[in-house]
Symmetry: C2
Subunit: 521 residues, 2 copies
Amino acid sequence: MAITNAIENFHMTVNEAFLAKAQALAPALIETEVRPVRTVEIVPRGEDYIAVEAAPAFVHSVPMGRDDRLCLDFGDHQVGYVSFTLTPVGSPADAPACLRLRFGEIPYEIAADPAEYHGEISRSWIQEEVIHVDVLPAAVSLPRRYAFRYLELTVLDTSAKYKVVVSGVTCRSVSSADPSAVPPLDVSDPELARLDRVSLKTMQDCMQSVFEDGPKRDRRLWLADLRLQALTNYATFQNNDLVKRCLYLFAGLTQNEGRVGACLFLEPRPQVDDTALFDYSLFFVSCLHDYYEATGDRETLAELFPTADRQIELSLRELDERDIVTDKDTWWCFLDWGEGLNKQAGAQAILIYALKQVAVMAGWLDDPAAAERYRAAADRLTKAALNCLWDEEQGFFVSGAERQVSWASQVWFVLAGVFDREKNVRLLERLIEADPGVPMVTPYMYHYFIDALLQNGMAELALRQMKAYWGEMIRDGADTFWELYDPKDRYASPYGSRLVNSFCHAWSGTPAYFIRTYFSK
Amino acid sequence: MAITNAIENFHMTVNEAFLAKAQALAPALIETEVRPVRTVEIVPRGEDYIAVEAAPAFVHSVPMGRDDRLCLDFGDHQVGYVSFTLTPVGSPADAPACLRLRFGEIPYEIAADPAEYHGEISRSWIQEEVIHVDVLPAAVSLPRRYAFRYLELTVLDTSAKYKVVVSGVTCRSVSSADPSAVPPLDVSDPELARLDRVSLKTMQDCMQSVFEDGPKRDRRLWLADLRLQALTNYATFQNNDLVKRCLYLFAGLTQNEGRVGACLFLEPRPQVDDTALFDYSLFFVSCLHDYYEATGDRETLAELFPTADRQIELSLRELDERDIVTDKDTWWCFLDWGEGLNKQAGAQAILIYALKQVAVMAGWLDDPAAAERYRAAADRLTKAALNCLWDEEQGFFVSGAERQVSWASQVWFVLAGVFDREKNVRLLERLIEADPGVPMVTPYMYHYFIDALLQNGMAELALRQMKAYWGEMIRDGADTFWELYDPKDRYASPYGSRLVNSFCHAWSGTPAYFIRTYFSK
């Protein structure tokens, strides 16, 4: 995610007890030493670039001087800290060695010229460093963490009197996910095994001190991303304490009026961002709901329920006199990155969805009165939606003043369960058939589409769609699943250039959840 | 200096006792906190650039975002370590801050684009860094040492949600020279006071763990540079132990056959370079001679005399059957950076000059037989020079197969004292009058020219020349004296671009020596 709105008169309220609980759950990182597996060259293919095996000479032996470069392939996506040895060859080093290092999750990031990036998102996410090494030989340890598979080292200069040999390049890869905790997968379809494997790697590399959205960018805890990461985690790495830690962080660091923020920072101190999103706040409800379902941790449910309840309360304030969520000009709700996507209908559906979950949670907590109150609110909002947002003639939900028909609106109303299964199936079939103008563009939204199919007994179609979408991403070269993917527009970016897209993004890593929940024996 | 030759089958011999003496004399560095004095803008003027006072807003207050820049003037040349505070303003910092830092001894280094540098010398000397700061606010301490007066900070990016304020920019300037040790200067001429002041600053900034040639480039101990630094030191900072340390380093780390190298490295371990230069080796003799004259340290003289003697012995091997130093195609002797300068005559003169000094040293050590032997050799070489290199018709010494007439050859024969004062004066007058084709291009060679004038009673002319040359450099903007300066070709560089010229260079800092030795009351 990358968002530019901000709350006016923003202030943070810290619940020290919650924060202390969260910090006590900070995970140890598992470190693994990873070496490059081959030397590659990055060459154009079509509109993209690929890595091809380079000359057999390995990294250890070739002295490099001005403008010489070396591109190393670590074999798979890594998140970690890189070190190497730089040894001078020739006369004593009479000038510093100057090196440029470029890290790429995909080959394009090595080939592209960062100087040509003029997009809106920060250039600072481009993983490039220029370093000077004054004293040689040197053990170079880069202090920053990188997300990459490819590392290009270019010697910008040594001097006429010496060259350098780069050797011992190592990545100390880090993750708080323990692969040995993942249950074995029981599927016979190799494509499912492949989807599962790439999912796991995506999740593993995003599981750090918290669930990060992406280890390259933005490297932080977002609520909607967390919700999908947590779901996948229960079926895979089962690091449930990490979910608990994140829930306590969100509940312990709230915005004005107790609103849960869209995202959090851990450094330099735990801090909620000043971004609020209607749907994200409500996913605190979903996340707590799922957590209790997965763990049965009643103490956490009870302690964090008031935070969930508060999100519902704040959201209900946004209803107009018709009981419809008020549309806004600002960037108030996410849903998806689709250009021009109107958020009103999706927001209404997500509020209904959350009301039903909070009702269930009230039931778990033996508060039937509250449960009844939430159910009643859900019914009222459902009626309002059917009255005001359902277009019987088109057979679609419409959103906003211009009555926009989008994939996101339909999918969310299916998930909100405003119709019975039969009507849901017909709506989904109609949606696929009509393919309305505002498509889904993120794996995140695709997740909820697959979820909607599965919730309504359309498992075969869900499987086909999952293979077509995530499978195509793998065929397009994904080692980990990408933040953004549109098979019809492969090089798209909402940021002005895919140079700053994230190519290991947790919200895209849910196939393992689906496969393990619905398709394994 | 920047040299690209190398000895074949090079090996280093370490005299551990000498090295231990040198290391025991390692000076403590004096640290001074220096703050910028104003904010400037670098603007073109003619073919060059100058710094002009920028808007009054000072560094502390202005939030900077993408592509915003700030240029700070530290008021004078600094050698040291820079730190500053980076504070985010706006929303929590949701992306790293990326900054480019450019350090310039002169405004041109800020204005020039390093990407356009394609000269032979290493690009790595260009003082530019790009840094990413992941966690804000941050106390940023750059680990490398820079030589500069101007520091340009460019924010390559923050993000749309925050900007940064740069504050508390400080340079921890370092030098082993103690300004309080400098005797007060007693001159009434303000121009001499100015020349002295710039000299002192030049020397101070080059006095570090050893006498460096230049703190920007090459930052190391060169013998011919040391000789002039030591001379100036005796008249100014009087850190005689630093000279002693350097003499022991050269004597303790010798090349094949006991040759003293042209330069030394201190890191990662003390090490002599594989560069040998005929004149530089002989300056070990001069340097030891001057050291004893300044200090009366007989123990050091006695201990290092064999090293001096060895340089004479090795140099005498280079004579042909006529007793003339053999000319070579390689870059075997320095003298000056003048293009096409033939070194034969200058080398012959310097050998005579060194023979006379070593004879004096033998006398100091009560070895009249050795003294006589050296004097006899000097006489023999003088006769050979007058026979083979003196062109009576032209009234000049000629050098090499093409009988080149250069300033360097004449100056060095004057200093070698092959003529009496009267003939020397006529030769120098003729030289100035005729201004032969290969001019002097470095302050280093100008030093010996001024020295030649002063040794021959031409003080008034020496003063005029000194003011014309070094004074003009100050009028051209020098805060410290430059490595290279040709008033007729101000932007010249032997390196392909003056971007890598050194603008604080010890061999250029001798006016203080002349003023204090010859022109103060």
